[in-house]
């Protein structure tokens, strides 16, 4: 680990601490509120940003596509549809479960579709993801049309909402979930080296001893599971998985190994910032997906121009 990496780690840690303090102490509230309401929200936000950035980084390498992000493979639409179906049926407590089921369904569909014809290619995977994503999006539109009174719930899922109100049992369950998320993320971090090898191309990777199909499948499944969890609790929050990994790569300039760790860390911090803006920018809370889109769109354009 060289000097630049060390500097970035220290920098991010400082920003993290500052952001946490601002998030918790802004608009002074009682200790009870900070502990029982703000802190869970902070944890949910950080975990979501952490996961989205980490998965984004993984997908960008896995698909060898700088524009890849967690939602490109249709998993988010599936998870969103699951959550929306639950809310339309009035089963609000089951939204995370239904969302996760939707993610699993779309994951299976995308993977199967990508392997049709007997062969696999990265392009096919992306195309399958887009197709399945579109399919679920149309289904969501249909639900929106026939359930006008549930429009608020649906918009919540589609535009992102980190204000999930936990019951005591739901919070305990979420803590267990975080434990598994951390385990999976650690696994992803260790795969980072293999990921780099994979990015040199399937043939080369294989000749270097890497079991390409197995690794790809494993990573796809794990990333889909993680994305499914995030969307189930927080709805669709775009651009984090896209812009944070690129920004970190830009800051790091070539120190590959810890890029994914730094991306995840930065993702958590950035989403904390966006959620803070979402809560306090206007008189009423703006869905956080709108904030990330406003911040992310100019960046996206910049990225496209640079990659010409």
């Amino acid at each position: 680990m060289n000097k630049r990496a060390l500097v970035n780690i220290i920098l991010f840690t400082i920003i993290f601490v500052v952001m946490v303090l601002i998030y918790l102490r802004y608009d002074a509230a009682s200790v009870h509120i900070i502990r029982a309401i703000r802190l869970p929200r902070l944890v949910l936000t950080f975990v979501c940003g952490f996961v989205l950035a980490g998965v984004g980084y993984t997908f960008q390498v896995l698909l060898d596509n700088p524009l890849a992000e967690p939602y490109i493979l249709g998993i988010s639409s599936g998870a969103a549809m699951g959550s929306i179906v639950a809310s339309v049926l009035g089963l609000f407590l089951l939204m995370p479960l239904f969302g996760f089921a939707g993610a699993l369904l779309s994951m299976i569909l995308v993977w199967t579709l990508a392997h049709i014809g007997g062969y696999f290619s990265r392009t096919k995977l992306i195309l399958s993801g887009i197709i399945i994503g579109l399919f679920f999006s149309s289904f969501i539109s249909l639900l929106m049309y026939f359930n006008q009174k549930d429009i608020g719930h649906i918009i919540n899922v589609l535009m992102g909402n980190l204000g999930y109100i936990f019951s005591h049992s739901e919070w305990n369950f979420f803590l267990i979930l975080i434990f598994f998320i951390i385990l999976i993320m650690i696994y992803l971090f260790f795969q980072a080296i293999r990921l780099q090898v994979l990015s040199t191309g399937d043939m080369v990777a294989h000749s270097l001893g890497l079991n390409v199909p197995a690794l790809r499948k494993r990573l796809f499944i794990l990333c889909s599971l993680l994305t499914g969890i995030v969307v189930s609790y927080a709805g669709i929050i775009g651009f984090i998985g896209l812009i944070v990994p690129h920004s970190v790569r830009f800051l790091q300039r070539g120190n590959q190994r810890i890029n994914i760790v730094l991306s995840s860390f930065a993702g958590g911090i950035f989403l904390l910032f966006c959620d803070f803006l979402a809560m306090h920018l206007a008189v009423i809370e703006i869905p956080v997906g709108i904030i990330t889109a406003f911040l992310g769109s100019p960046f996206f354009i910049l990225l496209m121009l640079r990659n010409k």
Binding site: A36, I37, G152, N161, S167, E285
Partner: protein, 270 residues
């Protein structure tokens, strides 16, 4: 000769007006209730599904639902008057006007505008005297309720939507009813009548009574919300759902608002 024609025309018009009773299509449940209170319920020939009170309206032909009104159904009924609500139904006005259907928009958001809506409808349906009777009776009952109001005002939190949680301000109809019932709405001043709110604000405001107006809301769910256990209403289990009060009588600007205020008062001062 011209005089003969004119007289004939006038007589014909007279005959048409006398012979043809109004055919009314109503797309808003509260307007339907007002029309029935004005003894003009028999003239309603088209309703949306949500118009369920008075119960005899169930037999009237349906023209879709509140959020999804069927334009074609309205046309096929050939109404003489179409009464629509505001908000999502406002776009219907221009559509119907294009085919020269007389459409009137009513969206009473306060008790005062509700009372003037009664007068306006009375005028349109030639039921002015009946409208005055209804208005006077309502005004009397409101005055009586105001006189018998207890001195204290418990803090009330009204939750109208679950995900995200939303409440009402003083400018909303149900907010005003809660005030008339004697409660102090903790979200009296919101930027809009119906607005998204933060759970932190609810805990801070510490309401003594919580009223959930959407179906499916349960007392247990609210009690289990992390961080909400310190709220007075939760500690003393003063949480009321649609099982304790009919949401229609407090959410609709209809003559039943008197029952609504009385029901609210019972819950607030239990």
């Amino acid at each position: 000769m011209r005089i003969v024609y004119t007289i004939a025309l006038v007589l014909l018009a007279f005959k048409i007006v006398l012979a043809n009773p109004p055919r009314i299509v109503v797309t808003s449940p509260e307007i339907a209730e007002i029309v029935c209170a004005l003894d003009a319920g028999e003239f309603i020939v088209g309703l949306t599904q949500e118009c369920d009170y008075p119960t005899y309206l169930e037999e009237v032909e349906k023209v879709g639902s509140f959020g999804n009104v069927s334009f074609e159904a309205i046309i096929s009924i050939q109404p003489t008057h179409v009464f629509i609500s505001g908000l999502e139904q406002a776009h219907l006005k221009s559509k119907l006007q294009k085919i020269s259907l007389p459409v009137y928009e009513f969206y009473p958001q306060s008790v005062a505008s509700f009372l003037s809506t009664i007068a306006q409808l009375g005028e349109l349906l030639n039921k002015e005297s009946r409208a005055r009777v209804v208005q006077d009776s309502l005004r009397n009952e409101l005055a009586q309720l105001a006189r018998s109001q207890p001195a204290n005002s418990p803090r009330v939190y009204i939750e109208i939507y679950q995900n995200p949680i939303m409440s009402v301000s003083r400018d909303s109809f149900v907010g005003e009813l809660v005030h008339l019932a004697g409660g102090e709405n903790i979200f009296d001043s919101l930027p809009r009548e119906y607005s998204r709110i933060s759970p932190e604000r609810v805990v801070e405001a510490d309401p003594e009574v919580i009223i959930i107006t959407y179906p499916g809301g349960s007392k247990e769910q609210m009690k289990n919300r992390r961080g909400w256990e310190v709220i007075s209403a939760v500690r003393h289990e003063r949480i009321y759902t649609v099982n304790d009060i009919d949401a229609d009588i407090i959410l609709r600007a209809s003559p039943r608002l008197i029952d609504g205020i009385k029901a609210l008062r019972e819950l607030i001062y239990e």
